[in-house]
Amino acid sequence: MTKWLRDNLWRHAVALGAVGFALFPIYMVVISSLNPTGSLQVTSFVPNEISFINYTQLFTDPTIPFMTWMWNSLYIAGLVSIVSVIIGAASAFAFSRLRFKGKKLGLQTLLLVQMFPAILALAAVFVIMERVYNFAPEIGLGTQAGLMLVYLGGSMGVNIWLLKGFVDSIPLELDEAAKIDGASPMQIYWQIFIPLAAPVLAVVTLLTFIGTFNEYILARLFLVEMETRTVAVGLQQFIGGQFSTNWGAFAAGSIIASIPIVVIFLSLQKYIVAGLTAGSVKG
């Protein structure tokens, strides 16, 4: 018994402490979302009344287009992650599997470019998209299409790196064998590489999805119209003014907005952790 205590008690103590720390904000946001007064004020840590009024408000209040925001976020993040991985996978394949002059230089440039903090090029991106708006208002500043183009450009560097890391871990023997049989790089890419890399591509797509979903400042600058906003910008602006009074609805909204991401994350835990150790830090 004492040996068990000595060996395991501290483990449970540390774990329980961490669990308390991890769950505290989550618990608070859940009880706030069920608090009918909708206020930030904490009167009791145990809810004495449970109501779903904050949730109903999100879906019925015409001044909070929550469903539209949610859809915008899913749509923008979804499209960006898919297109970005389609484009990135081709580049990663070339970096990983093809031999050509300037490969090292190309990778170094990619690495360097990726280190420029995107937010610092914000002013420049802003000016460029302002100009694009002058001749093509559909894809310029203030449009979701324009925002997606910028996201695509921004996600390219990270994705190529990440995908290259994964591709490197796929055994070379298969495409070597195909090469000996006379397959062209295109055939190797489509018939060997893509089927083998499919799970990896799915994971990187989801990582990009999460990253894009989490992006705040570009979305804030680009999407001025209420109806075009993403859920993060919408909710942030929504509590910005009346922090304490809109708290319940904000809590409910953030729970709903988090659910898809948490589900994706937990179900793909194993793969995402592999990606994390390959050197990406979630934004």
């Binding site: 060996d7 483990r11 449970h12 540390v14 774990a15 669990v19 991890a22 904000p25 989550i26 946001v29 206020s39 004020q41 904490v42 081709a90 580049s91 394949f93 070339a94 093809l98 050509f100 090292k104 990778l107 170094q108 990619l110 690495l111 470019v113 280190m115 420029f116 903090p117 995107a118 937010i119 610092l120 090029a121 914000l122 002013a123 420049a124 460029i128 002058n134 001749f135 093509a136 183009l149 450009g153 921004g154 062209s184 295109m186 890419y189 989490n214 705040y216 400042i217 993060a232 909710l235 942030q236 922090f243 304490s244 988090s258 994350f265 937990l266 952790v273 994390l276 830090v281 979630k282």
Partner: protein, 513 residues
């Protein structure tokens, strides 16, 4: 040329895809060109040439894989970076935002004064028979009436005009007043028109019924690129820094100015101007402290958990799932939730502690809050990577040490930790670099504050370099894009150096070829 190789279906798909891409880019290029955005049009046209060349010939197989990625990277990452570097060499700030011709136009438009006696006339806006806009003015003092258009002024006999109930002339031969709806529609256009009067004077509408007498006092001489104030005789010349300045007093500049190249002055300012240098140094120190403390706390806590759960104790799976939650929740949401929880009056933290701490008003409390929130956000990451790495360390080492009589503590400090650090150093460096630029956390949690805005201070107590730069470029009253760009370039160099060191450690570069 190799237009038709491969399987027919693939070729058809390729031709269709490439043609659609070319058509879209072509349309955009044409409209960019017609709208005068030559640089963008050129970029689009070059992309078209590159696409056609790469996909319709066999010039380079790797390029077929790279090209779309390269075009996106150049357009939305490389060009903005280069543009930022260019901006850092310019005087580019509030008051110096526009181009020189635009600034000159504005300076001249502002370089007018009303005549000394502040003369105004009651006027009616209308059109002459030839359709030109003109004013029918009533001069009460002299009892005269005249019509003024862009280049002439004609007296009208009092017998010829028709007056309204306020004794203001409303119609005259050859002049027809504008109907009210047309008047309203032309509002903005009318206020910028100048109607001729004597000498250098002209009439400008103030509303629809009154016009004042103005004269141009700043005269531009294109040959010497200078402006002269004809009343005071002051001469203003291009000072080479984006303004016309009085040749006798360099402080006396005409506004607005324009964005002008000042080369390395923005960089020099970072070191020489105490108003820029001191906040920057303070922010830099906090940035490094913040990133370091963050990595240290996250790693220490994550490692402790990894060690605690490195044994199949009961409930380990559940612990693990709960402990990953903070990492799985979108950080943007959790930061906003934490911001609410740190609220002084209503927040859960103060309720829990039974205190009334003004977390975001006191620099040290604000900093502590930032570290705590970031610990919450990031410890699961280090828990995950540490437990993965712990399993990668062969058990033989610690067993051998135990046989030699080492205590568990000695085994940890002298064997496990050094090995772990060796594996995790690249990740620790990457995390440092990431937190060095953790904009969302600072911006959404504290907004960089608390800051003494009343003293005109831009740097807040929790501002890190990137949020401070954002504040300089977009946030404060005087937005200085030139200075912000210069700081950006400096941050880039720092982060690149840190990350390259990390990459070298992790030997990624060795595997390149």
């Amino acid at each position: 040329m190799n237009l038709v190789s491969g399987r027919p279906l693939a070729v058809i798909a390729k031709v269709i895809f490439v043609s659609i891409a070319l058509a879209i880019l072509g349309l955009l290029a044409i409209s960019a060109f017609t709208a005068g955005e030559i640089a963008i049009a050129a970029f689009l046209a070059l992309s078209m040439i590159a696409i056609a060349w790469v996909y319709f010939t066999n010039v380079s197989v790797p390029l077929k894989f790279f090209l779309p990625g390269i075009i996106f990277l150049i357009g939305f990452v490389v060009v903005p970076i280069l543009y930022t570097i260019v901006m850092s060499g310019f005087q580019y700030r509030t008051g110096n935002y526009i181009s020189k011709p635009e600034a000159l136009e504005r300076v001249q438009a502002l370089g007018v004064v009303q005549d000394e006696s502040m003369t105004t006339y009651d006027v009616t806006v209308g059109r002459l028979e030839n359709g030109e806009l003109a004013l029918l003015a009533t001069d009460y003092l002299a009892g005269t009436y005249f019509i003024s258009d862009s280049d002439s002024k004609v007296e009208i006999a009092s017998t010829d005009v028709e007056l309204n109930e306020f004794e203001v002339a409303v119609s005259a031969p050859g002049f027809e007043a504008l109907p009210p709806d047309e008047l309203a529609a032309m509002d903005s256009e009318l206020s910028s028109l100048r109607f001729y009067s004597e000498d250098s004077y002209y009439l400008v509408l103030e509303g629809f019924e009154v016009a004042s007498l103005y004269t141009q006092v700043l005269e531009y001489d294109a040959a010497s690129d200078s402006l002269t104030n004809i009343q005071t005789g002051d001469v203003f010349k291009d000072n080479g820094r984006g303004n016309y300045a009085n040749i006798n007093n360099s402080e006396d500049v005409l506004i607005p100015g324009w964005r002008a190249p000042i080369w390395f002055e923005n960089y020099a300012k970072l070191f020489s101007d105490p108003k820029v240098r001191e906040p920057l140094v303070a922010v830099f120190i906090w940035t490094v402290t913040f990133a370091f403390l963050t990595v240290l706390t996250q790693f220490a806590f994550g490692l402790l958990l990894a060690l605690a759960l490195n044994k199949a104790i009961r409930g380990r799976r559940i612990y693990r799932i709960i402990l990953i939650l903070p990492y799985a929740i979108p950080s943007i949401m959790s930061i906003l939730v934490w911001a609410g929880m740190f609220n002084t009056e209503f927040g859960a933290i103060n309720a829990l502690l039974g205190q009334q701490i003004a977390w975001f008003l006191d620099p040290n409390f604000a900093r502590a809050a930032v570290i705590v929130v970031n610990l919450w956000l990031g410890f699961p990451y280090f828990y995950l990577v540490s437990s993965g790495s712990l399993q990668a360390i062969p058990a033989d080492y610690s067993e051998a040490a135990a046989i030699d009589g080492a205590s568990p503590r000695q085994i940890f400090w002298q064997i496990t930790l050094p090995l772990l650090l060796k594996i995790l150093t690249p990740l620790l460096i990457a995390s440092f670099a990431f937190n060095f630029n953790n904009f969302n956390l600072i911006y959404l949690l504290t907004g960089g504050g608390p800051r003494a805005t009343l003293d005109g201070e831009i740097a807040g107590a929790t501002d890190i370099l990137i949020s401070y730069t954002y504040q300089i470029a977009f946030g404060s009253n005087v937005q200085d894009l030139g200075l912000a760009s210069a700081i950006s370039v400096v941050i880039f160099v720092i982060v690149a150096a840190i990350s390259l060191y990390g990459v070298k450690k992790s030997k990624v570069l060795d595997e390149f070829v």
